[in-house]
């Protein structure tokens, strides 16, 4: 009965949905895609003006800020879009027997494609700010994939709970700025008092942004502990996310 019996078909569905999302996002807008670059640029300008003076000991501050910001924005937009992805498609899910999980995965894919597109101009900008590349730069790809897995895992949990309690979506958007300022994105973790650093380390974003910065900003290979940690942080939430999603999906239709 299931028409999406093959992985090939399922991936085709996810792909179609992701491309649709991207197409729709910039339809009927004049500057379209340029807007998705605006957000990081605005932040970057503010940070460069405000914080460059505040953190004079951070070398190449604009590059430092940008290497964190781009990925932060990827995280925040992905989660926000995925949280809504199920209820936004309730009409379809009520009437057609499609695998529900295609929608969050497609939203994640759309977000990843968008990141890829914004990375083109931002890489140019990073070079202007003093980006140096070496063999370690390539590590950026597996780190990004782990980061994506982490993001999807968290979002799957949030999105499936959001079907039952719309509070999730509201709470998550209000927590967003708090998560942002408690993650070392605009500042280095040296600025945190030694006694409190463990709190910062509880934040998974600390480790992902740290590893991405290692390869893009410090031009060094992340430490072994850091690699192991982000691997765990990528895979475990994703598995938990799938588990919770599968547990909760049976009741989705009742809530639409």
């Amino acid at each position: 009965m299931t028409k999406f019996d093959s992985t090939y078909k399922f991936l085709g569905l996810v792909n179609t949905l992701a491309l649709k999302t991207i197409k729709l996002r910039y339809k009927n807008s004049i500057f379209g895609f340029l807007w998705s670059m605006m957000n990081p640029i605005i932040y970057l300008t503010i940070f460069s003006v405000v914080f460059s003076k505040a953190f004079p000991n951070i070398d190449r501050y604009p590059l430092f800020a940008l290497t964190g910001l781009v990925f932060w924005i990827f995280f925040s937009t992905s989660t926000i879009q995925i949280i809504e992805s199920i209820i936004n498609n309730s009409g379809i899910l009520k009437s057609i027997n499609v695998p529900v999980i295609a929608f969050p995965i497609a939203a994640q894919q759309a977000s990843l494609i968008n990141l890829g597109l914004t990375l083109i101009p931002f890489t140019a900008l990073m070079f202007i700010f003093g980006l140096k590349i070496g063999p370690e730069t390539l590590l950026f790809i597996p780190i990004l994939l782990l980061f994506t897995a982490f993001t999807l895992g968290i979002s799957l949990i949030l999105s499936s709970l959001n079907v039952y309690f719309r509070d999730m979506q509201l709470a998550w958007t209000s927590f967003m700025p708090a998560i942002f300022y408690s993650s070392p994105i605009a500042y280095t973790s040296d600025l945190i008092p030694e006694k409190l650093i463990w709190i910062i380390k509880l934040n998974p974003l600390y480790h992902f942004i740290g590893a991405l910065r290692d390869v893009l900003y410090y031009n060094r290979i992340p430490s072994l502990t850091s690699v192991l940690l982000i691997t765990l942080l990528g895979i475990v939430p994703l598995l938990i996310g799938f588990y919770i999603f599968n547990k909760l999906k049976k009741g989705f239709v009742s809530q639409f």
């Binding site: 093959s6 057609i96 027997n97």
Partner: protein, 247 residues
């Protein structure tokens, strides 16, 4: 003995209804999940119904009696709580017209989108896209137009064309054909006749006696989530009418 297309035995399907208010959620947290913030509402209760292969079966009943829930269970969208539901064959659900259509996209792009949602692979889509366009009778200009500029009849054409393109074995039609101009309705009726001849089972939900008598041979009257009467379509129509006039 005819082959069975759909058999529901003792079928119960329920909804989870959220109890409103913060107190229910508080109870849920305090009792560590013992006191659920949801209550179950049974929509279908011990429903028994058998539909044979190649048959055109009408389902009638008041609003809210559980017709759509039954259809959703057949389509695999809702899962039964109790009892069994056997469905033999590929189901094409036409629950509401225009589901999945994206108003901002063109007709052409929408065919690709909805067909993919319906389970078409890239190859199948490529093979049948021309048939879909031909059946819809929408011209090239209209295909390029954004669907939000379509009239509701045009939207119905597009949606119906995609749904019947799958060559379904079981076609579910939930009051979906009430729009569209006379010509297209005739065409839909013809296509349904064709699908019927090909041996497809049709499940038709409607409040229009004429339509249902035209298409179906047997029918069931559902009330309060139970099958109250099964019989020839005329018999059920009369029964339904009597029920309505008694109230």
């Amino acid at each position: 003995m005819q082959n069975i297309a759909i058999q529901a035995k003792n079928l119960s399907v329920s909804f989870l209804i959220q109890k409103h208010g913060i107190n229910n959620f508080k109870d849920f947290v305090i009792t560590m999940g013992v006191k659920s913030p949801f209550e179950k509402k049974n929509v279908l209760k011990n429903l028994d119904l058998t539909i044979y292969k190649g048959e055109s079966f009408g389902i009638m009943g008041r609003n809210g009696c559980g017709k759509s829930t039954f259809l959703r269970a057949i389509a695999g969208i809702m899962t039964p709580d109790e009892g069994t539901l056997t469905v033999n064959g590929r189901v094409a659900p036409l629950m509401a017209l225009g589901v999945g259509l994206e108003p901002e996209l063109s007709g052409y792009e929408n065919i690709k989108l909805v067909a993919t949602l319906m389970g078409f692979s890239k190859k199948e889509l490529k093979n049948s896209i021309q048939t879909i366009i031909d059946f819809s009778e929408l011209n090239e200009y209209e295909m390029e137009m954004q669907v939000k500029r379509y009239s509701s009849g045009m939207m119905a054409r597009l949606a119906f064309s995609i749904a019947v393109a799958t060559d379904p074995e079981i076609l579910i039609i939930d009051e979906a054909l009430a729009v569209g101009d006379m010509g297209f309705r005739q065409k839909c009726a013809n296509r349904i006749e064709e699908i019927k001849k090909a041996g497809c089972t049709i499940i038709y939900v409607s409040h229009h006696f004429d339509e249902i008598k035209n298409i179906c041979t047997r029918a069931a009257y559902i009330e309060n989530g139970k099958v109250e009467k099964i019989g020839a379509v005329n018999e059920i129509c009369d029964y339904y009418e009597k029920k309505l006039s008694n109230k």
